[in-house]
Symmetry: C2
Subunit: 496 residues, 2 copies
């Protein structure tokens, strides 16, 4: 079994460098002085090159070959071989020059994207986007792991997923969402969000965010929360997971749900079984599964009526000027407004899927159907109108809103898969623990967390998403759980 | 000149890993959650091993050999060859097993030291100290760069210094300090420290500490200040220097002078010329020279009468309950009390040298004269009585107060050398800029900083301390400047 041991040790070392790189990134977003970027960029270039070189080395190839000869391996060993092989093959198939070109175009393009978005100036961004599409097509051709080019790119984020599989699910999702949204739109008793747009003291928001994640069992002994422009989660080892949040003084949900969302990611990372701590398998199963956990905690738990039975009186005490006389049920409804909107990151949990479908269809066209980038804004807008019934007033609120496309393609779908996985997993949790919502009313979340740890988190990257969802729920990904969840939740909120 | 270029590039890479290691350390002291230490320890083990392996590699030896063949090298190239050679020879002379043994003994011993100090229990610490002395003797024997074993160890921190050289200076220092302390002791008008021991709001202390270093031209665009148990300075690149301070609610100087002290170190690190940024020469010339700058800013500037002409009214406004009716001159005197005390880190700038002499003499006995570690506490106490006229009541306030000896020997002398270098450099600054103290009265410190940058900081590690002090002041290290500074400052404070 020495071959297996060697493979573990080799990839544990790679994981260690990834953690170091993660600290460099976390520090850059949270602490680093503004003028220090050049030094930091060189440091991260070094760590990333070191990771890449180690993965690509002949040693990796040999270790994998030796390990593959072994019999009677357990699931964990098999998973390491699978992941090691995946990384190794990616590394040897893609020329270093192509990676360098993608990195450079991404870095330059990101700066241009920021300026282009600021001024709603798509032509400024166009050449960079054009180039990145070309590079990513070349990348997919070289990698060639999926049945089609776009499938190959999707597989990078959601291993095992293909375009056809996602498209089938998204088609069902589209019609169900449209149906729900249409119905909600006919309501004569729609909830109103204005209460959330008053002024909320930032220090109190921060204190409450900390109080909430303490109750959610975020472990401050091996974690911390800070502030950053965009909330994110960073794992600096299996016993060091850090989240960030942002605080908007005039919109309460930004901080509270930003915190709960990242806390969901962190609970996942904190819940890996000790066996795989600090190994290459100490990672989320897929982006979709990871996102399912942030959304489960944020939306299914954090925006539930029961959650606010416990928390609303505490919020009323913190913000009496806004909430003292405001009824709890109305506050709960205000957190669950469903309406078409232009910006993805501000969308509610129902219409969110439509934002993703739009991007998914456009990515397919860019990667496989030779879509002319000149025409992208116009196609964005017309597709947007088809889906939402409204047209973005400008490209800033349209095609320029997200930076993802100056990095790659295939990531967006995982966000929507997260909603679907999350709802399916949660129905199983509820089936096995029908009294859980009663816990939430008492500010008690450890039964939920323990269940998720036992059935989801501890496995890390041992199983593929398709295996994991079956292991947890007994069936393949089934979007109907999300539709049922959405109908059961939102119809009553809208008075049906 | 390719050989030189390659040597630079090789050592720039090593420097980069050192910076990454420094961030890992900074984060550990400032941000890291308590329960995350195991992961961090493994990460630092990795970075340190990587640094060591690169320095020790055959490649290093070859690059040095090739560079040494070149003619007409400038001072900077020559300095790199000198430093590269020094590091390489250290690395190849000391077996990895010995380094591992020292690291392990140091880590275990540190934990035991903490407990031993807590309970004033020297026997508990003794076996670890005994072992470390043995290991460091072996280390010095293997390294064998100085005329004696202890000289070899001193040279690690103060390159070029020997025991004889230091002993000669310290002998002069001892008699001068003893003379000054004796005279001050006969004063009938001694300053009184009690005003500093009132309650000072920690938030206001923090704000003032930030305000002060802003005025001292600490560059927050490429630096930051945080809190930690023990103040320290960390350079994470040549454009990212971070300091920490601590706040004691009932002792004002801890924060204020801790901050100014570390700011002095940071101004040095921020002042390296661009030419050597992020290179192996972007480092202090020696520990003694580095310490000279922290002490120059802390003691010569920060504890000067002129400094407080500007700052005292501001402090009075922040702490009216303590300072409103307290005269400025008395406050200034309270900051400059000279008196024998047991604890080195709390000592004033005059008696400080005696604490160092005690350690210097004991280190010599431990490394070269086979001092029995059993007898160390007793010898400490009797030597302490000789120097200070008082005997520590227990080992906690005696031999167990510092952790240094579970790491190595030869570091302590550099602290006192810092005082001497600092005074000598400052007299030269004053000679060239006699009006500087008038600046301080206006809260203006950029003329001082610019002079130090131009004449000291920009050189980094290009010159050895003996060359640098001559370059700056035109003569070798001369302790008389410190004695004169001390007499001129403290005799008036004590009414002479």
């Amino acid at each position: 079994m020495d071959a297996m041991k060697e493979l573990w040790s080799h990839f544990n070392e790679i994981r260690k460098i990834q953690y170091i790189d993660e600290l460099l990134g976390w520090d850059q977003s949270v602490n680093m002085p503004k003028g220090s970027i050049k030094g930091r960029a060189e440091q991260r270039q070094f760590t990333r090159k070191l990771i890449h070189t180690k993965i690509k080395s002949d040693k990796t190839g040999e270790l994998i070959k030796n390990a593959e000869k072994l019999d009677n391996l357990n699931d964990i060993d098999l998973a390491l071989i699978r992941e090691a092989k995946r990384e190794y093959e990616h590394a040897i198939k893609i020329p270093d020059e192509l990676i360098a070109e993608i990195t450079k175009t991404g870095a330059l393009g990101y700066i241009e994207w920021e300026k282009a978005r600021e001024n709603s100036d798509f032509p400024r961004f166009k050449p960079y986007l054009e180039k990145m599409v070309k590079l990513r097509i070349e990348f997919a051709e070289k990698l060639d792991t999926g049945p089609t080019l776009y499938s190959t790119l999707i597989d990078l984020f959601e291993p095992g997923a293909t375009y056809d599989w996602v498209a089938k699910i998204f088609n069902e999702m589209k019609s169900s969402i449209v149906k729900i949204v249409k119905k909600l739109n006919t309501s004569s008793d729609k909830p109103d969000q204005s209460i959330l747009k008053r002024h909320y003291d930032p220090n109190k928001q921060w204190e409450l965010s900390v109080e909430i994640i303490k109750k959610l069992n975020f472990d401050f002994n091996i974690g911390r929360q800070d502030k950053s422009t965009h909330p994110f989660t960073a794992s600096i080892s299996s016993i060091d997971t850090r989240i960030t949040t942002r605080i908007w003084e005039d919109f309460l949900p930004a901080c509270i749900f930003g915190t709960i969302h990242e806390c969901g990611h962190a609970l996942y990372e904190m819940g890996f079984s000790k066996e795989i701590h600090n190994t290459f398998l100490a990672d989320g199963c897929s982006m979709g599964i990871h996102e399912s956990q942030s959304r489960l905690w944020e939306n299914i738990v954090g925006r539930s009526r029961e959650f606010w039975v416990y928390w609303y009186p505490i919020f009323q005490k913190s913000f009496p000027e806004n909430l003292k006389d405001y009824p709890r049920e109305e506050f709960y409804r205000s957190l669950n407004v469903v309406q078409p909107s232009f910006i993805r990151v501000e969308a509610d949990e129902v219409t969110y899927g439509l934002h993703i479908i739009l991007r998914f269809e456009l990515e397919k066209m860019m990667i496989e159907e030779n879509l002319q980038i000149d025409e992208l804004p116009q196609i964005w807008n017309s597709k947007f109108e088809d889906l939402f019934g409204i047209v973005p007033p400008n490209d800033k609120e349209g095609v320029l809103q997200d930076p993802h496309w100056i990095g790659g393609y295939g990531y967006f779908p995982t966000y929507a898969l997260g909603n679907l996985y999350g709802a399916q997993i949660y129905q199983k949790v509820l089936k096995d623990n029908p009294n859980l919502p009663q816990d939430f009313k008492k500010g008690e979340f450890s039964n939920l967390l323990n269940y998720l740890k036992e059935n989801v988190y501890r496995y890390g990257k041992i199983y593929r998403a398709s295996e994991l969802i079956k292991k947890i729920t007994g069936e393949d990904l089934n979007p109907n759980y999300f539709f049922k969840y959405a109908e059961d939740k939102f119809y009553p909120i809208y008075g049906f």
